[in-house]
Amino acid sequence: MGSRPPDLAIRIFEQHMSQLVYLVPLFPLIGFLINGLLWNKMPKTLGGIIGSATILASFCVSLGIFFEVKSDAFHGPVIVTLFDFIQSGKISIPMAFQVDALSSLFLLIITGVGFLIHVYSTSYMHHDEGMVKYFAYLNLFVFSMLLLILGANYLVMFIGWEGVGLCSYLLIGFWFKNREYTNAAKKAFVMNRIGDLGFLIGMLLVLLNFGTLTYTDFFGQIAGGHAAPPSSIYTWITICFFIGATGKSAQIPLYTWLPDAMAGPTPVSALIHAATMVTAGIYMIARSNVLYSLSPFTLHIVAIIGLATAILAATIATVQYDIKKVLAYSTVSQLGFMFLALGVGAYTTAVFHVMTHAFFKALLFLGSGSVIHAMGGEQDIRKMGGLGKHMRITQATFFIGCLAISGIPGLSGFFSKDAILADAFAHDQVLYVLGVVAAMMTAFYMFRLYFLTFRGSFRGTEYQRHHLHESPAAMTIPLIVLAILSVVGGYVGVPEVLGGHNEIGKFLGSVVTNFGQHELEKNTEFMLMGISVGVSVLMIAVAYSVNRKPKFAESKGLAKVLENKWYVDELYEAAIVKPIEGLSRLLDRFVERMGIDGLVNGVGKTVRWGGDRLRLLQTGQVGFYIFVMVLGIVALFTLSFFWIK
């Protein structure tokens, strides 16, 4: 009695949404298959519609799943097993998906932001002849990313992990006729491979020591203390996983691929190299939080690497002139912040920053894409300026993005970045001070970019000036939606000191347990917020005054070092690439050519030489043959005569 039938139906539907989780990656896979198989027959518009619609479908399912997970009726992770993937002896690795707070949140970020970027791409890529192929790759990327997020064990995660690496490679080198772009793609792939090897070794260590790769099993074992391997094994596993994370999430020492990855189309940079794929490393560590909490030593390393990356990338970003390069280094720097949060044990804060960063960095990248579109492919901010008059929506949304990333109160970046800094302060004051320095630089380079691009007077060619226009609605609407998200996205994590409830922290709390958290006093927290907001505003003012009348002189001293990215690429070239090339040349000359080739060719030569000599025996005289035959028989006879004796 009482409950009306439709209401009941909705409730049942909600309760069982998580059982349909396989639909989420299935839709993009279908989109990939359709677009990928028919890429040269399909009309462009239809390809774009299919590509976007599949992601929208996934987003709808993800929403359903999210609300189910959020409801009170949801208890613990739901594991949906599709089939047995590897079944061998005691090892059992199923192809299974895990639905819990962490994965459902990432599902929303990926499908939501992904959908907006797909819509944006339909317009941005419309003039490109490979548009359908582009959407096929993009759908394959989303599929792989969803596998990565949903996997209930490390192997499924690894499949997705490799898949997103492949798609990243394909999309960076999308305009493959340009040699530089393909080189950038190769660089990204090789750098990622180095990290992937770390992940793989870590995975094998887990399998070897614990006999399982399934999260629930593995974390249950180590948390319950059932298995008692030497504690150093945790350090090794976590370090191996972290090496994997540095590759995918562009941290020192494997970060140099990400700025080069800007060779790909701008929406790709927004989706893969800012909002989703590069956060895979953070997801992995947040997912393995139980493991990482057992190894404070590794957490320390994570924090240091994250902070160092944040500062290094921020310094480089302050002097770059390529609009996308600035954003790329900014991404590296923000990822550094997330690793800092992970390193101090504030896993939920890191995930929170992943979310807000996905909003505002996708917004900034799409905004830059809109600018590049208007400028006819020009990316050099020295040739821009005063674009605000021509493209109001892009300017306004870009401004919101800049405010959000700089941590101005009221916008999403403020809540997440401030939470990271507060956690860092609670952990170690030195980390906090350095973090504030990186945050300062963030505000500076973002507003330097903003002022140089949108304010002042136009510095490009006459032709470009006439060409300037606002982008079509398919591009501006995603910008507006993302701008709104960049503003309100932070309100899910308002800290208690500001009267909020840190809902995202509570939501994730069922899966992710923060490590070694200290409570800060209310006044301290207010003071920290004041400091970070103060320095940000100060830096915005500095950026304004410096860039009011921009002069682009040849840079000297430190600026030149920064412009050349600390010469890290050159260092790698000299320290790693050159020696390996030398070694290869050595191996080629001595092992390959002299050793292996010599052996193989030597056998051939010997046989040929011998044949040449033996050929002389064949005179063509039948009498001689008979004579030799008789001689042979006599010889055999004599031999057997003595042999038997």
Binding site: T619, G620, Q621, V622, G623, I626, F627, V630
Partner: protein, 101 residues
Amino acid sequence: MPVNSSHYLFLSLLLFSIGIMGTLMRRNAIIIFMCIELMLNAVNLLLVSFSKQYGDADAQLFVFFIMVVAAAEVAVGLAIIVMMYRKVHSVDINILNRLKH
């Protein structure tokens, strides 16, 4: 003088040696062919004499086999020689050395 198996042995040795010498020294294909037959028959003789000496019929079985095979061989061999004569109007084996080149 009683005839015992050693006489047969020497006779067959003699026949065999004549066969070998003929095969090696003559150039006429038909003569070589005949010499080969001679060697086969020398062996046959040997087998039969040993069969008689040991009272065992197995060796005679071999003799029949050899005779059958020799008959077949004669048919093939003579055919080859006839064909050869048709082509080159000679039965000299040293003419047939073109495969060497």
